[in-house]
Structures are given as C-alpha cells and as structure tokens.
C-alpha cells in the first residue's frame, strides 16, 4: 500500500466522460465514465461481468474506439496523438490478460515473446535486450531454461508469470491487469498477487487492477472504483470502501462477497433477468430498478457524482459516489 504524498501531483491517467458502445449489439458498454489514477497507486476496478471494466482497459490501449470522451495519459490525449507519441505511450502502458494460455502466442517461444516488445519499441541493442530478458525472467521467478520452451509446456501460474514478464519488460508506467488472477487456483493466485505487489514496490508502477472479486481487490488496491452497467457508481480509498461503502450497489456487492445476502434485498430474483439491454438513458438512476433504498427522485433523474468530504485529512485519492442519497453534502464520519 502506498502512502506517498500526491495531493499536488497530476494523475497519471485521466479518463474524462468516456462513452463506448458496440454497435453490433446496440449496447452501451461504457457510459460517461470519469476516472483518475494517480502515479504509484493501485486502483481496483470492480463490478459484475459486462459492467464495462474490460472495455475501459481496451479503450486505454486504443484497441476499441470510444464514442465520446477523452483519455489522457500524462496529460496528453491518446486519441489525438501523432503516431510517434502514440508508440511511445504504448510502451508505457501494458496489459495482462485473464487467461495466459490464450494471451501468449502458442507458436512462439518464451524468448521470442519477450523479445518482441523490445524489438518493436527499439529498446536497446541485441546484447542489452538479452540482458533484459534474462533479468525479467529472474524477477518473475522463472528459470532461464524457460526461454526455449513454448507456452503450453508451462502450468497456468507459470504462464501468467510469462505474461507479466512480457508486460513489464518495457518498463511501463501503467500496468493494466484485466482479471489477471481470476482463472488461477487460490495458492497460485496468492503467489501472483505477491509478485505483483513486489513489482509495484520495486518498479513504482501504477496498476489498474480489474476484477470481480472484492477479496482480491482488498489485498492489492489502494483505491476502489465500482462499475455497474457501464456507469461508474463510486470511487473511494480502499480502507474507506471496505469499512463502509457509500453506494447501495457497492453495499450489496460487499455483502455477497462476504457470503451474506444483503438486507432489504427485493424478493423477486432480479439478478435472474435475461440478457440485459443498457439504454444509456440519462433520465433515471441506472440501479433504480433494484435498489433497496430507492427514492422517487431516482426514477426521474440520474444522480450526479458527488464528492464525499472526509474529515480525516490523510485520505488520499478521489472519494465520490453517484447517488441521490448523497445529494446534500455529507460529512463522512468513520
């Protein structure tokens, strides 16, 4: 956990009002999301599958084209960069996928896979590259014999280490981990989380950690952002979130994660509804259909994102919630 003073540092990554939809499905995947990620910190992005988390990751890497909004990396809009700057930016942002058995190229050896980013970004000469490759293998805990082997010859934990090595070999500033430990067994998950934590400490990278598993987020995140149906509902520092989340949806998530059914939950099994259609409609709160704390205003007007002021001066990072319950400015007491 990082406690550096960053009150005056501009955020490393700024997402402003990002909207994204998949025209083939006529579905809004990301709905006017604004997020900040400060340097050296880990932001846990949590939500059910289909909430839009992975779409944001892909938008940051310019793998999908957003409908509107901006993404600024170190102050520069990545959608307005010239090709030269874009390439330099891509070097600084790397992605680790969920399933290493398909995110590594099956017909390339480990060495080829690790060398590719170095060659593509023209980092160092052949000798320097060889050194870096050996170094990163050691850092992620694999022996040098791995270099000539193919991905399918490794276990899933080892494969994920290779994927992490590939992501880190370019010395990025930002690492995006998209459900990077979700398909791993518990003991291997623990090892990989330890590795990620250690790497963050040693290399000082910022991490956008996407997961649906709150327990994992608890272990690794400094800040938590909650998404639901493409919208950002809450963002708060981890300690504050886990001692008492602000948004009703977050509260239910936390309850379920602790194995309890949240109180006030509606009886009809709303979570069984069929494949959802998100409308991007700004006239109601997106969660109003199922919220146990629903008020009349929730169905007439979409709530604004409210800042929560905390009397504890040492709270770092954004602290806000998109909910009518917080329409008057409240002082949070815990």
């Amino acid at each position: 956990m990082n406690t550096s003073n960053l009150v005056n540092t501009p955020p490393l990554l700024e997402i402003r009002d990002l909207s994204l939809s998949f025209h083939q499905q006529a579905q809004v995947a990301v709905d006017r999301v604004s997020l900040n990620l400060a340097a050296g910190r880990t932001l846990g992005l949590v939500g059910a599958s289909g909430a839009g988390k992975s779409s944001i990751a892909r938008a940051i890497l310019r793998l999908v084209k957003p409908d509107s909004g901006e993404i600024l990396f170190k102050g520069k809009d990545i959608y307005r960069m010239n090709p030269h700057d874009l390439k330099a930016t891509r070097q600084r942002i790397q992605l680790v996928f969920q399933d290493p058995s398909v995110s590594l190229s099956p017909r390339r050896t480990v060495e080829q896979t690790l060398r590719e980013p170095l060659q593509h970004f023209a980092i160092g000469d052949a000798d320097h590259q060889r050194q870096k490759i050996r170094g990163i293998l050691q850092t992620v805990g694999l022996d040098q014999g791995a270099l000539n082997r193919y991905p399918h010859q490794f276990s899933s934990g080892q494969q994920q280490r290779i994927a992490i090595a590939r992501a880190l070999i370019t010395n990025p500033d930002l690492l995006i981990a998209d459900e990077a430990v979700s398909s791993l067994d518990v003991s291997i998950q623990a090892q990989i989380l330890q590795l990620i934590q250690m790497l963050q400490k040693d290399f000082g990278i910022s991490i956008l950690f996407i997961s649906h598993d709150l327990a994992v987020i608890r272990q690794i995140a400094d800040d938590v952002a909650v998404m639901y149906q493409g919208q950002l509902l809450e963002q708060s520092p981890a300690d504050q979130f886990f001692s008492g989340p602000s948004h009703p949806y977050s509260k239910s998530l936390l309850s379920f994660a602790q194995g309890k059914t949240p109180s006030g939950w509606p009886d009809d099994k709303w979570y069984l509804e069929r494949t959802r259609q998100s409308t991007g409609d700004a006239s109601t709160c997106v969660f109003s259909g199922y919220c146990p704390d629903k008020m009349p205003v929730c169905e007439r007007l979409e709530p604004a994102m409210h800042d929560i002021h905390h009397k504890n001066q040492h709270v770092l990072g954004p602290y806000c919630v998109k909910c009518h319950l917080y329409d008057e400015v409240k002082i949070n007491d815990h």
Binding site: S49, V186, S187, L193, K269, R274
Partner: protein
C-alpha cells in the same frame, strides 16, 4: 447405521504410457449420506473432476484405467455395470451438474424439451407427465415463470438462469446423488448466492446427497457439512467444514486456507502463499506428495505414504498434523 447414498471405496484412475504409469486418482474412499452435502476441494489437476467422471463412468474405455472396490448408490454397486446398465442409472439415480452450463446444454432444443427428454428417457412416462414433472422441476429451483423458461433456448437465458435450469434437469428424476462440478465458478457473486441457496433447498426437499466439487473453500463452506481436501490424486484431509476452518490439521489444508484473500475493514495482512508448485502427474514425489512444499516435513514423509489418521476414515493424512 443407514446405507449411505453414495459410497466410494478405493477408487483409482491412472494412465499407462508404455512402462510408466501416471496416477491421477489414488485410492480415494468416502461416503455421503442422504440429505448431506460433502465438498471435494482441491486445485486444478488434483484429480477431483476425474474422480467425478470415474464415479459416473464417463471416462473413455481406452487409454484410461479405472479401478475401485466399489461405487455404491444406496447400496447398489454401479462399478460393475456395463454401458447399457450404466446409462439407465445416469440421470435417474445419480446426476451431474457441470461448470459451464452453456456448453453442457444443447443449443437447438428449448429448456423444456431437454428436461422433458431426460424425464422420459428414465421413466418412460407420457408427454403430459413429462411436461408436468419438467415444470415442477423448474419451479422447484425457483423459477416463477416456468412456462416461459421452458419455451426458451439456452442462449436466451443468462448464465445464472442456465445453471438453475441445469439443476432442474439434473433433479427432474429426483436422483439420490448429485455431483456438482464447480457449478458456481463461472458466475457472479450474487448469482452464486442464489444457486447455492437452491442447492440447499433441494437437498432438504428431496433428501439428495450432494458431492460438491470446487477449488473455492469459501463456497464449499456455505453449502457443505463435510469437506475433503485433495492434492495430487490423494485425500489429504477429511473432516467437517467447521473443524477445517477453525483448525485445519493437514499443512496443505492450512496453507490453502491462509491463501484465501479475506475482506476486512482493517488493513489486510500481507499475502501468504504456499511455496513451490504443484508437481506434474509424471513427477510425483515418493512418499507424501506434499512433502517437498511442506515446512513440517521430515525423513519419514519422503519415504512413506501417510494415511488418514482416524479410524472412521476422517482426519489428516499426515505424520505430523497440526
């Protein structure tokens, strides 16, 4: 002493490759009584799915060897049955729920058609009877709009609904035993809670015995009374859930528990992990399989195989339990 609903004795599964033998399930024995749920917990590759497939007789005839001293459902040994007799048993006396309902269901038939088909195959009832049972099954898993669901195709339903429909399909003949293989792993937390609730409800309603296979100890705890921990084909610990969570006796179980991330409102402790890696089936160590990674291992652990240390088949398979 009532007859257990499911009793497995010394089940082994292995592959033979010329001169070498790869054992993936090594002399597993356990029993589950009617109305009880037992969890089979372990990490990928430990042999839990193989165990389930072996019990059901779903492993291919060639290339895989299965041997046991008995697989009994309500006292009747099914391990000696031929394929035709086995097929009669599957679905009627014992049924399986899979991890990925999307791939386990046929996309060109409606849910109603698939569930009715299962019913008719085993009871030979009329179409009306089948439809009635099918609707009943759907209602018993919590669908208030059973007619609607019956008329839907699998791809029209969400993941959670598909899994519930699968459970309906597995229970329409009211089997004595259900084997659930990672049924909630692919689902979100909220849907998971619902599925588990339904399984608990069915267990009470039909007095079904459930073998719940999972890598997730936390989920097992919510639904099972007893639990078995498996590692590299062997049972490391067999006990009830409460005891395991309060005080695990096998070092592997304890290690596994300590790896589980916890949600706490205070700063979480540093992440713990079990050092080393799970050995491949071809490289299994002699003696206790867990010895190379265990900080309590002594010479004996590397040469002899520890057995479960209690007489009634429970306890920890360890020479130096915690």
């Amino acid at each position: 002493m009532t007859t257990p609903a499911l009793k497995v004795t010394n089940l082994s599964v292995w592959f033979e490759n010329g001169s070498s033998r790869l054992t993936v399930v090594d002399q597993i024995s356990f029993s589950i009584n009617a109305g009880d749920a037992t969890g089979l917990v372990g990490e990928s590759g430990c042999g839990k799915t193989m165990t389930a497939m072996a019990i059901l007789g779903l492993l291919p005839e060639s290339g895989v060897n299965v041997r046991s001293d008995g697989i009994e459902i309500n006292g009747r040994d099914i391990s000696t049955l031929n394929t035709g007799q086995r097929r009669a048993v599957l679905g009627r006396d014992i049924a399986m729920i899979f991890q990925q309902p999307a791939t386990a269901l046929d996309p060109v038939f409606t849910m109603g058609q698939q569930i009715s088909a299962v019913y008719r195959r085993h009871t030979g009832g009329s179409k009306q009877q089948a439809r009635k049972s099918m609707l009943q099954a759907l209602e018993s898993v919590g669908f208030s709009d059973a007619d609607d669901i019956a008329a839907s195709y699998p791809h029209e339903l969400s993941g959670g609904m598909r899994q519930l429909a699968m459970i309906a399909m597995a229970t329409v003949c009211k089997p004595a035993v259900i084997i659930a293989d990672e049924p909630t792993t692919a689902l979100d937390n909220s849907t998971r809670a619902l599925i588990l609730e339904q399984l608990k409800h069915l267990r009470k309603l039909h007095r079904t015995a459930i073998l719940f296979i999972s890598h997730d100890l936390a989920v097992v705890r919510q639904i099972c009374r007893d639990v078995m921990v498996m590692y590299c084909g062997r049972l490391m610990e067999k006990t009830d859930c409460q005891s395991l969570f309060a005080h695990a006796r096998h070092p592997y179980s304890a290690g596994l528990l300590s790896c589980i991330p916890q949600i706490s409102d205070t700063q979480p402790p540093p992440i713990k992990s079990i050092p080393g890696q799970i050995p491949a089936p071809a490289d299994l160590p002699l003696g206790c399989h867990f010895a190379p990674r265990c900080n309590r291992a002594e010479a004996q652990c590397r040469t002899s195989i520890p057995q479960l240390d209690c007489d009634n088949g429970t306890g920890a398979a360890c020479f130096r339990p915690l």
